[in-house]
């Protein structure tokens, strides 16, 4: 799973001044290559802003995989039945593996893995907002596996066609594994929705809780997020937040309704003339509050992560040999 990479809500757009000191000839060549659909590789020339935004985005994506595994991981012991425990363990392992692939891709841009982990555990880096909410019941874990992973897939399939080679290759591998997560999550939700009245109620309540975070998932509305233009031109971002949200609604609202479940937004409907979904505007102040650390679980997620780093430290130290030297990976 993964959340859309958020542009720092507090950072003003300085793209134009940042581009001012780039060599215009190199910049033009770089943009022409992207225009032709060529992939940019680690040692190629790239504008500083391209490198910076990619590091931010891939790193956030990696952190989201790691932090996303925390609420799901706590459900392994309580997942109903041995088969679901096995499947959830496999999913959690996949998510942590995704983080490894993504950190590796970000590393090729010159930020070390240690620096990324440090920025995560000190709260400097962001990760997907959805993981700052609690998974109260088994049904919450099912809704996450189905709909959050569904949102992630929409984002990842789009970004896999982006311009940075190592990120695209990591995403191709990730997308293959995500298809299992989606099927697994759907199967669990269907089991509850077609089960006893108590099971149906449980899954409906989980959906009600998760709907606002799901609507936040793709990031702020294009109306209030204005920095995406150059990122789309450079194929760092492949679709706008609103376009991805529309695609998600189009694919999944009918599947939710199919199960006789309701979506807790009375304004939600497809406008048959425009082909677009209409919905209540998500609360973007809440989004900003949570991403800046004010959500119900931000503090404990990072505390759990710090604890894991600290407890593993002696093992990592013990295994170090004297003759090592770091080299940035090739691809």
């Amino acid at each position: 799973m993964y959340g859309n990479a958020y542009i720092e809500p507090n950072e003003a757009s300085k793209t134009h001044s940042v581009l001012a000191d780039e060599d215009p000839k190199l910049l033009a060549e770089f943009e022409a290559r992207i225009e032709r659909g060529e992939k940019i590789e680690p040692k190629d020339w790239m504008p500083k802003e391209y490198r910076k935004q990619l590091i931010r985005m891939i790193e956030q994506h990696g952190h989201s995989e790691i932090i996303g595994a925390l609420p799901e991981g706590t459900w392994i012991t309580r997942a109903p039945g041995f088969k679901r425990k096995l499947a959830l363990m496999a999913k959690v392992q996949d998510e942590v593996g995704h983080a490894q692939l993504l950190y590796s891709a970000a590393e090729t841009l010159g930020k070390s893995r240690e620096a990324m982990i440090n920025d995560l555990i000190t709260g400097k880096s962001k990760y997907s907002n959805v993981f700052n909410y609690p998974a109260f019941t088994w049904a919450d874990a099912c809704v996450i596996a189905w709909l959050i992973d569904a949102g992630a897939i929409i984002n990842q399939v789009a970004n896999a066609k982006g311009s940075y080679g190592p990120y695209c290759r990591a995403l191709d591998r990730i997308c293959t594994e995500e298809s299992f997560h989606l099927k697994y999550g759907h199967d669990n939700v269907v089991t509850l929705a077609t089960g006893t009245p108590i099971q149906r109620q449980m899954v409906q309540e989980a959906l009600n809780r998760w709907w606002p975070p799901i609507m936040h998932f793709f990031g702020p509305s294009d109306k209030i997020s204005s920095h995406t233009e150059i990122l789309m031109k450079w194929k760092v971002k492949m679709a706008t937040n609103d376009d991805m949200r529309q695609q998600f609604l189009n694919m999944y609202v009918p599947k939710i309704w199919d199960l006789g479940l309701t979506v807790p937004d009375t304004n939600l409907k497809k406008n048959e003339t425009t082909g677009k979904w209409e919905y209540t505007e998500p609360d973007w102040d809440e989004f900003k509050r949570v991403i800046n650390g004010g959500g119900p679980c931000n503090a404990e997620r990072l505390a759990v992560r710090r604890n894991a780093e600290e407890r593993g430290r002696w093992v990592r130290e013990a295994l170090k040999s004297g003759q090592t030297a770091y080299v940035v990976p090739f691809a």
């Binding site: 190629d44 591998r173 505390a303």
Partner: protein, 123 residues
């Protein structure tokens, strides 16, 4: 603030103010390039990297990371430091390759010559 649902917080009592020393250089060790072979007889293909303290550990991580889906017959790991590579900047060193048509089977049009010869014999 809600009461935590995470047993690491509510049972193992991890404090949310557990500030730690930042990770130092090489805390995550070096990187190894991973080459994966699907089945015997296939080529090994580069699939990515792992961080590891030694080659044995790199192999174990590579198995988890790149061998947990589909088929795997064999995996190689190579320390990134030991890879000597050409650069895209110097890609022009390969440029003349496509001009060297005499290296290709398609560079030899024997049938044209044979047909011409046959025609001349008939005349």
């Amino acid at each position: 603030m809600i009461e935590s649902l995470d047993p690491r917080i509510n049972r193992a009592s991890i404090s949310v103010d557990n500030n730690i020393e930042p990770l130092g250089t090489l805390d995550q060790w070096e990187t190894y390039e991973v080459f994966h072979q699907k089945k015997r007889g296939d080529q090994h293909m580069h699939v990515g990297i792992v961080h590891a303290a030694n080659p044995e550990m790199a192999l174990a991580f590579a198995k988890e990371q790149f061998g947990r889906r589909g088929l795997t017959a064999n995996i190689w790991v190579v320390n990134t430091r030991n890879v000597f590579a050409s650069t895209y900047e110097d890609a022009d060193i390969f440029e003349t390759t496509t001009d060297k048509i005499y290296r290709e089977a398609g560079g030899y049009k024997v049938m044209d010559k044979i047909n011409q010869y046959k025609k001349s014999q008939k005349a």
